[in-house]
């Protein structure tokens, strides 16, 4: 008979990598992505008997991780200002150039647009689902997606025709 703990272990293995990948795109840093996802898992473990009953426990964890990611981004902005005065930037980890391009383009966007892009393109949420997940009005989700999409396409040198924008 499967115990609550087995249940958590199985869930952990299945969704950890997926969530880290999504948060990696938002944060642009693998270590920080792992940190925020582990934080979400730690919180979930504390109330697993409740969280496992949710329709989508992974969505709950994603929301916690995204919330945590915002905190990390705010802190990073402060640290970056200080680091800029004190020391040269740390060496970037070895990443394929196309991944570096995507991360650099994402980093130029506001965090609110990044999370909408990730939820829409990676988690494959519809605009309504994105709005529900982030607890924002549908119009806000739509405008964030349109702006983020336009800015990302332009940064990546992709064609962004009017028709595409309307379709989003």
């Amino acid at each position: 008979m499967a115990t609550v703990s087995d249940d958590f272990d199985a869930f952990d293995a299945a969704s950890y990598g997926r969530l880290v990948g999504q948060l990696f795109v938002v944060l642009g840093d693998l270590n920080e992505a792992e940190d925020v996802v582990q934080e979400a898992f730690t919180r979930a473990a504390a109330r697993w008997s409740r969280v496992r009953g949710y329709e989508a426990p992974e969505a709950w964890m994603r929301r916690v991780a995204l919330h945590q990611a915002f905190t990390v981004l705010r802190r990073a902005k402060r640290q970056l200002r200080l680091l800029g005065r004190l020391a040269p930037p740390p060496e970037a980890a070895e990443l394929p150039s196309e991944v570096v391009d995507v991360l650099a383009a994402m980093r130029r966007l506001p965090a609110t647009q990044r999370e909408v892009l990730v939820l829409h393109y990676l988690v494959e949420f519809s605009l309504d689902e994105v709005a529900r997940h982030l607890r924002i009005p549908g119009g806000t989700a739509k405008s964030r997606l349109a702006r983020g999409r336009r800015a990302l396409a332009s940064a990546l040198g992709l064609d962004d025709s009017r028709e595409d924008v309307r379709r989003a």
């Binding site: 703990s5 958590f8 272990d9 952990d12 293995a13 950890y16 990598g17 997926r18 880290v20 990948g21 999504q22 948060l23 990696f24 795109v25 693998l30 992505a33 792992e34 996802v37 582990q38 898992f41 730690t42 919180r43 473990a45 504390a46 990443l95 394929p96 196309e98 991944v99 391009d101 995507v102 991360l103 892009l117 990730v118 393109y121 990676l122 999409r149 990302l152 396409a153 990546l156 992709l158 064609d159 962004d160 025709s161 595409d164 379709r167 989003a168």
Partner: protein
């Protein structure tokens, strides 16, 4: 078309992150969660104790004899104690329960104070810990009369 290309590029970056991720042992996550729960409970108990009772730290209002440590007959209450009154650090008379003097100005936030009296009983250190907003460590003379306000927190040891 553009959507597909964006989706592809984002997915490639996400896949790279997912492959490079090193999942921790679930047991380690559960252990961390348990530790945190215990720590939180300990902090709550400590804060509740400090809130309800204040911290009895002062034996008398007079400066003690240098050679005589704080030995008191059993059963004798201290003349005064430190407490948080109206959001300020105050010395309160044990007998009457009245504030003898305030040691701090009104706080800027809604923080909870934690007090400590220096060994020579000259200085009260207190931390004002707010959930969000300002917080810090402050120092005021126990006898009062000194300038109110904060001093920079001591440099933490590595």
């Amino acid at each position: 078309m553009l959507d597909d290309r964006l989706r592809q590029q984002l997915a490639r970056a996400a896949d790279h992150g997912a492959e490079a991720a090193r999942p921790p042992e679930p047991a380690a996550i559960r252990r961390r969660s348990r530790t945190r729960r215990w720590r939180r409970a300990a902090v709550a108990v400590t804060a509740a104790g400090a809130l309800t009772g204040g911290l009895v730290v002062a034996g008398t209002d007079r400066p003690p004899e240098p050679a005589a440590p704080a030995a008191r007959p059993i059963g004798t209450a201290p003349a005064s104690f430190l407490a948080q009154v109206n959001g300020r650090v105050a010395v309160v008379a044990t007998a009457s329960g009245k504030v003898i003097r305030y040691l701090s100005k009104a706080p800027k936030g809604d923080g909870q104070f934690f007090f400590a009296l220096s060994e020579d009983r000259d200085t009260v250190w207190f931390s004002d810990v707010a959930v969000c907003g300002h917080s810090g460590i402050y120092r005021v003379p126990y006898q009062g009369g000194g300038p109110f306000g904060s001093t920079p927190p001591p440099t933490p040891k590595p």
